[in-house]
């Protein structure tokens, strides 16, 4: 048994997600042993490979470093993975937008199913995954010769960084005439990424406007928190979609999650209910969010938020 992990990286940095995926891979190999290789695909990604080589449990880092891979387009990554997959029993990636874009393509090319978003490993072929927005947990067993799996990173603790795996080049170049990168617009922020933040503070429809999200910023700065939003706030146009926490947005599980003016629709709870400590601030004392909150504060957020900021 051996496992290949597609590394997440952006702007020359290894994504935090990959250390969690290695942890999931270790649970798969624990039973019977086996190698864990990490594949880094991109252009000028030597530093990413170095960082991946330090992850505990990694046997080897394979690097496909070429201009054609600069934007990690699915058409090429899928084909590259398919060319490498025959040496492996499992191919894993995080359930990032890159992983979700690429791995189903690989699975179809190899004529196998894909298991999405696993949150538990029972054995090398049996896994837990949430269905129906996390309102049910399915245990599934795959008899496919190759298991293609995306991993919900919040369900696995990251491995440490004390390793020194070998780094080897992969010289397969996949050309692509079908799709071309045009541009990227990334939210510029000094704050941590939603998926990786230890503290998340999110606003809902109760915020009233996008302007009022400023009330969250001071608190976020003091706590080193990422700022999120409910789907209701996104649908109302207060904030962009990439801030959305929920079934169809980001799934987060920080140490501390503060929900402000969020009623607690199933859709939203699916994205944050695995947080360690949940705080809810809402003026409606019957809001369902209080049923999952460790600490609830009933009050007007326009009074509570400035006071909270001043007392942190």
């Amino acid at each position: 048994m051996s496992i290949l992990i597609l590394a997440d990286h952006h702007e020359g940095q290894l994504g935090a997600a990959t250390a969690h995926v290695v942890a999931a891979a270790q649970q798969i190999t624990n039973a019977s042993g086996g190698a864990i290789d990490v594949l880094v695909v991109g252009e000028n990604v030597a530093a990413v490979a170095e960082a991946a080589a330090q992850l505990d449990g990694v046997t080897r880092v394979r690097v496909a470093d070429h201009a054609v891979y600069a934007h990690q387009l699915a058409e090429q990554l899928g084909a590259l993975l398919a060319a490498l997959a025959d040496d492996y029993s499992h191919v894993l990636s995080s359930a990032s937008t890159t992983g979700k874009n690429v791995l189903p393509r690989l699975a179809a090319l190899k004529d196998v199913s894909q298991l999405s978003d696993i949150i538990g490993v029972e054995s090398a072929d049996t896994f837990q995954r949430p269905i129906y927005a996390g309102n049910a947990i399915a245990t599934v067993q795959s008899a496919d010769p190759l298991k293609v799996i995306t991993v919900r990173t919040s369900a696995f603790d990251a491995v440490a960084e004390s390793g020194s795996a070998a780094i080897e080049a992969v010289d397969i170049v996949v050309e692509n005439a079908l799709s071309a990168f045009v541009g990227e617009e990334l939210a510029q922020s000094e704050r941590p990424e939603l998926g990786a933040a230890k503290v998340v503070i999110s606003g809902g429809r109760g915020m009233g406007s996008g302007e009022n999200f400023k009330l969250l910023e001071g608190i976020a700065d003091k706590l080193g928190a990422a700022i999120g939003a409910s789907r209701a706030a996104v649908d109302a146009g207060f904030v962009p979609n990439d801030m959305q926490v929920g079934q169809t947005g980001k799934i987060v599980a920080p140490e501390l999650y503060i929900a402000v003016g969020i009623s607690g629709a199933i859709q939203h709870l699916a994205g944050m209910k695995d947080s360690k400590v949940i705080v809810a601030i809402n003026k409606d004392e019957d809001a369902p969010i209080f049923q999952v909150a460790d600490y609830g504060l009933v009050g007007d957020l326009f009074e509570v938020l400035p006071e909270l900021e001043s007392k942190l």
Binding site: R105, A107, Y132, T139, A143, L186, G296, K311
Partner: protein, 249 residues
């Protein structure tokens, strides 16, 4: 341009699901069903492209039980011209659905296929990507904007941390994200008219696709219930609890 749009019959998104007492699956008996929300967005986008004169025909397709005809009629009421029902009572997983859709693509030769990015029952987020791989077509997943420009398609994609724009050669596969559009509601006269629109029925056998999967569902359980905590009376008490009890500050 011909557009093929795939739809799925799923549990209505407002329904709170129940797990069967024997843990074999989720209980769907007497539960309200509807078109998957992301598929509604896919239908809406296809219909808008037709209204703008970019598309000439919109064909809706589903893979599912007899009752899934309801969702095809909904798609027809929303503006699709005709429908194809690949009828099967079997539980069909993403890979088999993608194989069936690939056969339909081969027969229909659409310039564009639009699907929802994920179904809210299995939450897989796979079928569009798999269809793209099987047909050898480019993919624009999690789309928040789609623009046809000659023989190219420009797709803006929702990615972690922001937006990415790609150019795809046509034909191409697109999967929809929430912000692509806001779907309309079907009007009563359109619902009546939809009953007369053509609906062609096919079977997996006739299309030569084996739908059995190598993945077995062993059990389904409700998630661990999170216990509600306490209400605090003031910001001071909240900060104190977070510092001294939860120790997260």
């Amino acid at each position: 341009m011909k557009i093929l749009v795939a739809v799925k019959r799923v549990i209505d998104y407002n329904v709170k699901i129940r797990v069967k007492p024997d843990n074999s699956d989720v209980d769907l008996t007497n539960v309200k069903m509807a078109m998957n929300p992301f598929c509604e967005i896919a239908v809406e986008e296809a219909v808008r492209l037709k209204e703008r004169g970019v598309a000439s025909e919109v064909v809706a397709v589903t893979v599912g039980p007899k009752a899934a005809q309801e969702q095809l009629r909904t798609a027809l009421a929303l503006g699709a011209d005709r429908a194809i029902h690949v009828e099967t009572e079997a539980k069909v997983e993403s890979l088999a659905v993608a194989k069936l859709l690939a056969k339909v693509v081969e027969a229909e030769q659409p310039q564009l296929v639009i699907l929802g990015k994920q179904a809210i029952d299995t939450d897989n987020n796979q079928t569009g990507q798999m269809l793209a791989a099987l047909t050898g077509l480019p993919q624009g997943t999690f789309a928040s904007a789609v623009k046809v420009d000659g023989d190219k398609l420009q797709v803006t994609r929702e990615i972690d941390g922001g937006l990415q724009t790609v150019d795809l050669s046509l034909p191409a596969i697109v999967t929809t994200d929430l912000r692509l559009n806001e779907p309309r509601y079907a009007k009563l006269p359109d619902i009546m008219k939809a009953k007369k629109k053509p609906l062609d029925t096919q079977t997996p056998e006739a299309l030569g696709v084996e739908v059995a999967s190598k993945v077995t569902l062993l059990k389904v359980e409700p998630p661990a219930e999170r216990q509600g905590g306490i209400k605090v009376g003031s910001v001071d008490e909240l900060v104190d609890k977070l510092k001294n009890e939860a120790k997260v500050l």
